[in-house]
């Protein structure tokens, strides 16, 4: 069961149109729409709503002035950090100043979305434009400020250091210096964000559905903002049509405003984001400029690496500086360097906020490190993989302490891995050593091909914790719940696999619920490739508790020693004597001493049927009724997955068109719960990586207008753009958790830009320093 590539249990529902995504709910709800700023930086000088008032079906119009108390306060800064000295967050509706195109200014509620948009279109907001800051270097120049009270546009200044890198570089036999650029992209799930709220006036309670990656934390945020006891707020993440990071941010303005309006109006209110809104009012990621200085010896061993990173975090910092923290730590990859220094300057611009998108700063870090490895190899005329091999941490060096502090506030200590084996496997899979002859054939045909390579290490399964609850009911069904949410990862399947394996029950008896605060109130969320590691282990631990209890109760009923019992196929039996057995469902009945029999099975647990000792309480001290188990998994630190990717590309000598001929992945995420699902995660990640390497970027003009804010102009790849992805696995179990697993969700995307740049560089014979790269970009590079 555990480890098998079984088909997903969630599929039949989703394949027949029975999924329940946010906008599928609340058919009778009022609809919200937002008037959003058309300016990147402006002062609001007036809001005239008169034109909207005669729109049929209009229910309410709200501006910042209407928001009471905490509802009108700035949104929370979710992850404070000492280096983030000038964190700023937005108001849920703009107050006085707007700082990016798409910032919400007015909220409209009407009978349906068409009418709400009619009304929104008739509201006149007047603005006094202010100077606009777009682009990392423009921000760094500080000619104009995004926030008047943030000098130099610098939100955070962060240094990560181990050893004395500048001195090591100065003393090194070889030194290189160069600049790298990565553009913005975005998570871009096919379902946008959305919120739907129901206020129950009789019960004074609120139920909120949100297309979120963290329902428990949205609940806390809403309770705090609306001044409600958390017990009166339920938040449910229904089926979510993809997240990839953007839906971990919370509370979004709409997550505060929609529930607030629902309560105020005492009517159901819903808002579902449209695609243009998603482009200009959700979040982007990736944009960085890196200045690299590296010193190395004759074998290519890095003696010192010094990187100055300019990070564009957009107009506000609700998610803190997690991305550059990850960039500056995960940059080290599978390598041990002599000395390292990274200096991050995190800057405000008049653009959409920047928060984690699958990979979360790692693609930039890996781009930096892997470009560096290629430059070193080129400088020394050495094989690119050999240079990497010379720098690798060896299998006998684990746990390996990189000497830095990771995003979870814990030391960056790699738990396990076999990096030389990864390199070897990837080298073989792509046919690195025979590429020369392939190239010779291509060259003879007038074709240009190149091969590229990159490695990464990914810290996964970050804390602080997740929990699991498991209950066997009197019909033998096993109900598993965990607080974190699902966005397509197949949690209902993999968590059921874990529970079925732990408990010895058929998987068809297991039902999994995620992201519903009614079922499990304590959770952190789904991000950082943590769901399988965190909730998977929590569920396993909860199952072990349940199993212990089941064996104890069954032992009494079977008059056996619990140590002699096993569970298989939902039956508890005495090892070696299968005829002495009792079904788990009966154990569930017996676990709950009853007064009232509600069905035949339950009669067995009533007071005149059990035959329990008259001198003992029916529930022993320290025991609880019911066959349940609950536990939490809280790791000391992250577990580190790793991988190596390689690709062969062809560039057209005339048109500069770039095609990926082969793409190979070797991936190590510890023990696999379901190989089919892990491969699916890799496929999706690699596709997003290719998108970011060749197609996607956010085209802001100097006025801060996003010029490609639609699927017409933002080139999200279709099937025709994604090559076949070849995958091989390595399984180095994690010693940190009971199941030995590591996260897999983000891995696919991380090294792709580095690999493609490496391959194009190899094909073209000149340096590639900026990604993404379009045929147009390549054409221009050729002419330089």
């Amino acid at each position: 069961m555990f480890g098998e590539p079984i088909v997903r249990v969630e599929d039949p529902r989703l394949l027949t149109g029975q999924g329940r995504y946010l906008d599928d709910l609340g058919r009778g709800a009022l609809a919200a729409a937002f008037v959003r700023s058309p300016y990147a930086h402006a002062r609001i000088t007036g809001i005239d709503v008169d034109g909207a008032l005669d729109v049929d079906g209009l229910v309410a119009v709200y501006t910042w002035e209407d928001l009471p108390g905490r509802v009108g306060e700035p949104l929370p800064l979710l992850i404070p950090h000492p280096a983030l000295t000038h964190g700023r967050t937005a108001y849920p509706l703009a107050r006085d100043v707007v700082r990016h195109v798409g910032e919400p200014v007015v909220m409209v509620v009407a009978r349906d979305r068409y009418l709400a948009e009619d009304a929104a279109g008739r509201i006149q907001v007047t603005y006094q434009p202010l100077p606009v800051v777009v682009g990392i270097e423009k921000s760094a120049s500080a000619e104009y400020l995004v926030h008047d009270d943030v000098p130099g546009n610098v939100g955070a200044f962060l240094v990560q250091e181990v050893g004395d890198a500048p001195a090591a570089i100065d003393a090194a036999p070889h030194v290189l210096e160069f600049r790298l650029d990565i553009e913005r992209s975005a998570s871009m799930p096919l379902e946008g964000r959305g919120v739907y709220a129901r206020w129950d006036a009789d019960d004074e309670s609120l139920r909120v559905y949100s297309s979120t990656q963290t329902s428990t934390s949205v609940r806390m945020a809403i309770a705090a903002k609306l001044g409600l006891p958390p017990a009166k707020v339920e938040v449910i993440a229904p089926d979510v049509g993809g997240g990839f990071g953007v839906k971990i941010v919370h509370p979004w303005p709409e997550e505060v405003l929609v529930p607030w309006a629902a309560r105020l109006l005492n009517q159901e209110v819903k808002w579902a984001e449209d695609r243009r809104e998603h482009f200009v009012s959700s979040a982007h990621e990736r944009g960085q400029v890196q200045f690299v200085r590296v010193g190395f010896d004759d074998e290519g061993r890095v003696l010192g690496l010094d990187v100055k990173i300019l990070h564009d975090h957009g107009a506000y910092t609700p998610y803190g500086i997690i991305i550059p923290i990850i960039t500056s730590t995960q940059l080290l990859g599978p390598y041990k360097l002599g000395a390292y220094r990274a200096e991050v300057t995190s800057l405000y611009t008049n653009t959409l906020i920047v928060t984690p998108y699958r990979g979360a700063g790692r693609p930039q870090g890996v781009f930096c490190m892997e470009r560096t490895m290629d430059r070193i190899a080129a400088h020394l005329h050495l094989d690119r993989i050999d240079v990497r091999a010379a720098n690798l941490i060896q299998p006998d060096e684990f746990p390996y302490d990189q000497g830095l502090i990771f995003q979870d506030g814990r030391p960056l200590i790699y738990d396990s891995g076999d990096y030389p084996a990864l390199l070897r496997k990837a080298r073989d899979l792509i046919g690195w050593d025979s590429f020369g002859s392939l190239r010779a054939v291509a060259t003879a045909e007038g074709r240009r091909i190149g091969i590229g390579f990159a490695c990464y290490v990914e810290g996964t399964g970050v804390g602080p914790y997740e929990g699991g609850h498991v209950e066997v009911d009197s019909s033998g069904r096993v109900h598993v719940s965990t607080g974190l949410t699902s966005q397509g990862q197949g949690h209902q399947t993999v968590f059921a696999q874990i529970a079925a394996a732990e408990l010895g029950v058929p998987i068809s008896d297991v039902q999994v619920t995620t992201g519903d605060t009614r079922r499990f109130g304590y959770a952190v969320g789904t991000f950082a490739s943590r769901a399988a590691v965190m909730s998977g282990n929590a569920i396993a631990l909860a199952c072990r508790r349940l199993k212990e209890k089941a064996l104890r109760i069954a032992a009494e009923a079977l008059e056996a020693d619990p140590r002699d019992l096993e569970i298989a196929d939902g039956q508890v039996y005495v090892r070696g004597n299968p005829s002495a057995s009792i079904p788990l469902r009966t154990v569930a009945v017996l676990s709950n001493p009853l007064r009232y029999a509600f069905d035949e099975e339950a009669q067995r647990a009533t007071q005149f049927a059990t035959g329990s000792s008259p001198d003992e309480p029916p529930i022993a001290p320290g025991e609880e009724p019911g066959l349940e188990g609950k536990d939490y998994y809280s790791p000391v630190r992250s577990t580190f997955a790793a991988g190596a990717h390689a690709a062969i590309v062809e560039t057209d000598p005339d048109t500069a068109e770039i095609r990926i001929l082969r793409y190979a992945v070797v991936h190590d995420c510890g023990r696999l719960i379901n190989p089919r699902i892990v491969e699916g995660q890799i496929h999706g990640g690699v596709a997003q990586g290719i998108a970011g390497a060749l197609y996607e970027k956010m085209e802001y003009d100097s006025d801060g207008q996003l010029l490609n804010a639609s699927f017409m102009d933002f080139l999200m790849p279709y099937a025709t753009e994604i090559p076949r992805i070849e995958i091989d696995h390595l399984e180095t179990p994690s010693p940190l958790n009971p199941l030995g697993i590591k996260g897999a969700g983000e891995a696919g995307v991380i090294p792709v830009s580095a690999v493609i740049a490496s391959a194009i560089e190899d094909a073209e014979g000149f340096e590639i320093s900026a990604m993404p790269i379009s045929p147009d970009d390549l054409f221009r590079l050729r002419r330089h």
Partner: protein
């Protein structure tokens, strides 16, 4: 300002349905919100993602680019109408499950409608024809690998071994152009 509404009747998944809606109501919204058939999804509302694809008189159309009133009296099949009445998944639905051709499932109804029509018109598509056939549908989760595999598993023209090698076996090339080997 009261908007004029019309009684719009059409056959959906073999059942005559009707509701009143204004002339500007998109077919996607009409199906989802007026008729309550929420299996059809909306990913962009500007005709690019293909999530909203339904079959109109058997042919795939973007329901977000179609006004409901313009299909008065016609026949629409949505994802809810693909399985047998007894709940048995259609071959296309089954192949998507068997090949792990979906993750979040948001794009899936559009793919299923598109592929159903594709295989009806061409029961033995080559890999190139499959790619062409699904190249109007976006998926952000799967990298398309297992969607292609699912469709090819149904193609009468593709041999078992080619399927087992996975979609896009070494002799076929995505995108346009040449292959390495």
């Amino acid at each position: 300002m009261n908007e004029r509404v019309y009684e719009i009747g059409l056959t959906v998944n073999g059942v005559p349905r009707s509701a009143t809606a204004p002339a500007r109501r998109l077919l996607s919204d009409f199906l989802r919100h007026d008729l309550g058939l929420t299996g059809t999804h909306v990913g962009c509302e500007h005709g690019v993602c293909g999530c909203c694809t339904v079959l109109l008189d058997g042919d795939p159309v973007r329901s977000c680019l179609t006004f409901a009133i313009t299909v008065e009296g016609r026949e629409v099949t949505t994802v809810e109408g693909l399985a047998d009445p007894d709940g048995t998944l259609s071959p296309v639905q089954q192949a998507f499950q068997d090949s792990h051709g979906l993750q979040c499932g948001f794009c899936t109804p559009g793919f299923l409608c598109t592929v159903t029509a594709l295989l009806r018109d061409n029961p033995a598509p080559t890999e190139a024809e499959v790619l062409e056939g699904i190249s109007g549908n976006l998926c952000r989760c799967t990298g398309y690998q297992n969607i292609i595999k699912a469709v090819l598993s149904l193609s009468r023209g593709v041999s078992r071994t080619a399927q087992e090698n996975g979609a896009g076996n070494a002799t076929t090339q995505r995108g346009s152009g040449d292959h390495v080997r």
